[in-house]
Symmetry: C2
Subunit: 73 residues, 2 copies
DNA sequence: CTATTTTAGACAAAAAACGTCTAAAACGTG
DNA sequence: CACGTTTTAGACGTTTTTTGTCTAAAATAG
């Protein structure tokens, strides 16, 4: 879930994985793995991504749909 | 941040760490470590906790304050 | 087509997570 | 207060996950 969202958001902004990596203070390879969901996001990574892309953690983690409805209620 | 929130929410519901552990399919020791922030939350744990406590990931991760204002905007 | 940029596989090393066992702390009841 | 029960967290070792580097493949641009 979060992989697809990260890739979408990144491409919307026209950023490369390396650019996002820079913002997250990690390697490009790590961002690649986030998008592929080969590794799990750390809470720090989640928080950084929310700030970078101005989105909620709920959106990033797929806890809300496109309409913004929360799936955890 | 998330440690304090988890502990608060758990106690509001009058649950023991063992009870939460059961819901998350992990050991009581792991829930203890989440509350102490000795280990990081996995995305799965975050999602399970949001469903269990009916709160947003933003709240759990401290991306919003008590008034609900988002800190990532 | 060629050069440049971007992405992802393989590998090894380092870090993080996890459960178990157990002691300490907190809680309740007589 | 004592006693038993429940709850929480330390220590330890093991397993799993994450990470970077190096590099090749894929995509993009000129």
């Amino acid at each position: 879930m979060y992989g697809k969202r990260i890739k979408e958001l990144r491409e919307e902004k026209g950023l490369s994985q390396a650019a996002v990596a820079c913002a997250l203070q990690c390697s490009q390879r790590t961002v690649s793995r986030y998008e592929l969901e080969q590794i799990d996001l750390s809470t720090e990574a989640i928080i950084s991504l929310c700030h970078l892309f101005k989105v909620s953690a709920d959106y990033l983690l797929g806890l809300e749909d496109e309409t913004g409805a929360k799936t955890y209620r």
